[in-house]
């Protein structure tokens, strides 16, 4: 299904070693236009690290990373802004790119924070800041979006709305999305392909396949598997397997 020119990023056997310890090892995955790939796994399993390898943030790593686009939007997991720097939302939005004010407003409106445009970043709440981060990433209409826990600190109803927005953006912009999340239930409903990490790739495939996988059950427990099954019943269509992933 994925032809060569739909590929945005491809990782082949990628990994990174720090102080003789592998943070993550042997990760292979590819992100295609219009598809959402989700990384799941326990704390310290190398999700953020994998995303950073794909983004080219590390200079030294193992394996091969091929990037076919430079138009990237990134929402990091942690971001601390130094308050010696006076910065309003409006300044933050044009941090890495020149944007028309119409695009800025549109993006902020989509994430529901357009009223905050003249506020100082330091005065935002955690959830508001997260929405601004997401707005900034989508405002440049990127080919590839990398979202590292993009809804942390957002209220419950907002969380669902933002995940729906992410899904909508991937369709509207036809961009590929690499998503990292802990929220299995919500994430799975929007994902095309799941990669389950625990220092290495435990299992990967469509959400349904991964939920049935023994290693997945061992990692997240029986209940998580049921969560996915419940979701499966709500669903009215079946995700086709991408084909390039090992099957049980």
């Amino acid at each position: 299904m994925s032809t060569e020119n739909n590929i945005l990023v491809r990782l082949k056997d990628a990994g990174i070693k720090q102080n003789d310890k592998w943070l993550v090892k042997g990760v292979s995955l590819e992100i295609n236009k219009g598809k959402i790939v989700t990384l799941i796994g326990p704390n310290g399993s190398g999700k953020s690290t994998t995303a950073k390898i794909a983004l080219g943030i590390y200079k030294e790593f193992d394996g091969i990373v091929e990037k076919f686009t430079n138009k990237i939007g990134y929402v990091p997991q942690k971001i601390s802004i130094d308050w010696t720097l006076p910065l309003r939302v409006a300044d933050f939005m044009i941090l890495t790119d020149n944007l028309a004010s119409r695009d800025i407003n549109e993006a902020l409106k989509l994430t529901g924070v357009d009223h905050l445009i003249d506020k100082s970043l330091g005065n935002l709440s955690g959830g508001e800041f997260q929405r601004v981060l997401l707005a900034r990433a989508i405002s440049r209409k990127p080919d590839l979006l990398v979202l590292d826990e993009p809804v942390q600190g957002v209220d419950f109803s907002g969380e669902i709305a933002l995940y729906q927005l992410i899904k909508k953006i991937s369709e509207k912009l036809n961009c590929g999305i690499l998503l990292i999340s802990h929220d299995l239930h919500t994430v799975m409903s929007a994902t095309d392909h799941v990669v389950c990490l625990n220092g290495h790739v435990c299992c990967s495939g469509s959400p349904i396949d991964v939920a049935k996988d023994k290693e997945y059950k061992a990692l997240f427990g029986e209940q998580a598997s049921q969560t996915l099954s419940i979701y499966e019943h709500k669903h009215d269509h079946i995700h086709p397997n991408d084909g390039d992933i090992k099957k049980d």
Partner: protein, 267 residues
């Protein structure tokens, strides 16, 4: 007009203020004030080399400061010492070596006070050309690297991920810092150049809610400091560097009242 030493000092000071404002903002934002100090201290060594080899002073300072910056990067990689200790080591040893070398160069008469604290009489017409041409170049390059430098100041990983090459911007910025030290040493002096970079900027921070405003106010602050400082230097026969920095300090103190006011307004 430029035959009058005071006019020359004024023209030099105004040029320096225009460059020091924007660079100073980055020094404050990136927490580089001690780094700037280290480069400035090493400038004395540059001066002595320039005198003994009869080489251009600004160029010599620029070279030595750049070398010191490179040595610092190497030491950071190869030792387990914290950065502030390494900076202190380089700052004081290069200052000391510079003064020792001056002691040996008995055949040249040095005005050490002038080197350390600036000299209103020392600015020549040639220096004016160096300051204005060099200063314009510094501002031009800063404008070119503004986006990657600013983005990586806010968040390095974001800048790197979205393809802005922050490492290159950082290296270029270090060179710009060495360059402004080289062009402003005569008027402000080795020991006070960092003050010229950060005190007007600190004042500007108190008055600004966005980066452009902060750059603007730090230039205004620098210009006022130079004008007030040089006039009082002429009036009271004080060294030019300390007079400019004292003026900057007074402006900073005044800006604190503005903060108090805005806090009151918020409540």
């Amino acid at each position: 007009m430029l035959d009058d030493f005071f006019i020359r000092a004024l023209v030099a000071g105004i040029g320096i203020a225009f460059v020091a404002g924007p660079l100073g903002c980055f020094v404050v934002w990136r927490r580089l004030s001690y780094f700037g100090d280290t480069l400035a201290h090493s400038a004395l060594l540059g001066v002595t080399i320039a005198y003994s080899l009869e080489f251009n002073i600004a160029a010599s300072i620029f070279l030595i400061s750049s070398v010191i910056a490179l040595i610092l990067i190497q030491l950071q990689k190869k030792t387990n010492l914290p950065s502030d200790a390494l900076l202190g080591l380089l700052a004081h040893s290069s200052l000391a070596v510079g003064l020792v070398v001056i002691g040996f160069l008995t055949f040249i008469r040095f005005d050490i006070m002038g080197l350390l604290f600036g000299d209103i009489l020392a600015v020549s017409k040639k220096d004016l050309v160096t300051i204005w041409v060099g200063g314009s170049l510094i501002l031009l390059v800063l404008k070119l690297i503004w986006r990657p430098l600013f983005a990586s100041t806010v968040n390095y990983e974001l800048a790197q991920a979205e393809g802005l090459k922050p490492d290159r911007a950082k290296a270029v910025f270090t060179i710009l810092l060495a360059a402004i030290i080289a062009i402003s040493i005569k008027l402000v002096g080795v020991l006070l150049i960092t003050g010229m970079l950060i005190i007007p900027t600190a004042m500007a921070r108190n008055l600004s809610d966005n980066p452009q405003k902060m750059v603007f106010f730090s230039i205004i602050g620098g210009l006022l400091s130079v004008l007030i400082g040089l006039f009082s230097s002429l009036e009271f026969n004080t060294p030019s560097g300390p007079s400019i920095i004292t003026a900057a300090l007074i402006l900073f103190i005044l800006s604190l009242f503005k903060i108090k006011q805005s806090i009151k307004l918020k409540n």
